[in-house]
């Protein structure tokens, strides 16, 4: 029963609102960095309403069912992840053992849904974008899982998210240790790639393959993808906060402190996005499998030694 309430109130509704506000922050900060004025506060909501009222076009060459189901699948997995995270953050010890593993799996599904949609739309540029997305997933998953392992090792081999939170409530946030800090650095880059933002936005490169897998999507289907991306912009920093920064406790001042942590993370992601140019896919792969995996392995070794 409590799952249902958290699912409806926090997992779907609040996460969607927060994600859209976060995407407004992202666009506004980008605009300010470029000395522009930027969009009004409600712009992401207006975009979504507009897209839901537009015509939905399905290309003749597309696989209809897959084409229409892919965005729904991605959105539902994001909602599930946010439900699990809120469940852990609001009341400790209420979830099942191993929910961290479930969250890692579910966080991969949005990328897979973009791939499926791209391949199903029957457009060569979409296929190109989807294949790039696939390579990107292959490259960032390894350092991402390794860095998450650091949090698991530090908190005494806990694979329940609430145990990790409990550990951090007692012993301070994991980012405070050297290995935690290294893992946090790795995770930030992986989050950037999972969100598909600028140094790693080659699947959707607007200027070369005209938004890649999303090229054939229009109207409500595109709106669902936009909503999914906006919700990911809330869910992924929240996940990083839960693992490394001690979560978002909702009591008095520390709730406000959690809000500051969250806005800081979003601002960091936006600044990385605005100060970098797009990499080629092979460069990104080398970066993830070389530098970041190396860093993550060092962090794991340090965590084993208790640093």
């Amino acid at each position: 029963m409590s799952y249902l309430i958290v699912f409806l109130v926090f997992g779907s509704f609040l996460t969607a609102v927060a994600g859209m506000l976060a995407s407004w922050v992202d666009r506004k900060v980008t605009a300010r960095v470029q000395y522009r004025v930027g969009p009004p506060l409600l712009q992401p909501f207006i975009d979504l309403v507009k897209l839901s009222g537009k015509e939905l076009l399905i290309p003749q060459t597309a696989a209809r069912t897959t084409f229409l189901l892919a965005p729904v699948m991605g959105l539902s997995s994001v909602i599930l992840v946010s439900t699990l995270l809120w469940m852990n953050d609001l009341n400790f010890g209420q979830t099942f053992l191993g929910d961290l593993i479930a969250v890692i799996y579910l966080l991969m599904i949005p990328s897979i849904s973009i791939m499926m949609g791209g391949f199903a739309s029957g457009n060569p540029l979409a296929s190109l974008g989807a294949s790039r997305e696939m390579k990107l997933v292959l490259s960032y998953e390894l350092p991402f899982v390794l860095a998450v392992m650091v949090a698991v090792i530090k908190s005494g081999y806990a694979i329940r998210i609430s145990d990790i939170l409990m550990f951090q409530a007692r012993h301070g946030a994991i980012i405070g240790s050297l290995s935690g800090f290294l893992a946090f650095l790795v995770v930030i880059f992986c989050v950037q790639a999972k969100l598909g933002l600028v140094p790693f936005d080659m699947p959707e490169a607007e200027t070369e393959i005209v938004s890649g897998p999303l090229i054939e999507y229009s109207g409500p289907a595109l709106g669902i993808y936009k909503l999914m991306k906006n919700m990911l912009l809330f869910v992924l920093p929240f996940f990083v906060m839960v693992l490394f920064l001690g979560g978002w406790p909702f009591n008095g001042v520390s709730g406000f402190w959690g809000l500051l942590k969250y806005i800081g993370l979003v601002a960091l992601i936006t600044v990385i996005r605005n100060t970098n140019a797009r990499l080629r896919i092979d460069q990104a792969m080398r970066f993830f499998w070389g530098t970041l995996t190396g860093l993550a392995v060092i962090a794991i070794l340090l965590a084993f030694m208790g640093k």
């Binding site: 605009a31 004025v37 712009q43 207006i46 507009k50 537009k54 076009l57 054939e216 229009s218 595109l222």
Partner: protein, 141 residues
């Protein structure tokens, strides 16, 4: 529909222009003019767009393509013709290669004259389009 006027995404199509109007239009996206204030974004794909900006004199090669692009745009949508060429073929009015102006091919909602029009003129034209659509909505209830 009300939401569409507050977040019009723009697709830009050149039908054989000299690139001058295109450059002037791209100026609108720069910090000095910043059309993101009005929620406008440059869409990469026609399937995401709400407003089709047409520049150029619609050459014979381009005419079927203009029709195809217009048909691929999800409705409701608007078309804006930019520059003297797309309004009346301008300099090329006698040319064998430009049989008809753009508004004989697809329905055009707003015409922005100039060779090329200033970015201010382009923004003003799109604002007029939005005002016109709002009035139409009021009349229709």
């Amino acid at each position: 529909m009300q939401a569409l006027l507050k977040s019009p995404w723009i697709f830009h199509m050149s039908t054989g222009s000299c690139n001058n109007c295109d450059i002037e239009f791209l100026d609108c996206l720069t910090p000095r003019f910043d059309v993101e204030r009005f929620g406008m974004l440059l869409a990469g794909s026609i399937k995401h767009a709400d407003i089709l900006l047409v520049t150029g004199a619609a050459t014979r090669q381009c005419i079927p393509k203009i029709k195809r692009v217009y048909e691929q745009m999800p409705k409701p949508c608007f078309v804006v013709a930019i520059g003297e060429c797309s309004l009346s073929r301008g300099l090329y009015i006698q040319s064998y290669n430009c049989p008809m102006p753009v508004d004989k091919i697809i329905p055009v909602d707003v015409y922005i004259p100039g060779c090329p029009p200033k970015p201010e003129a382009i923004i003003a034209g799109i604002m007029k389009l939005i005002d016109k659509a709002e009035e139409q909505m009021k009349q229709n209830g």
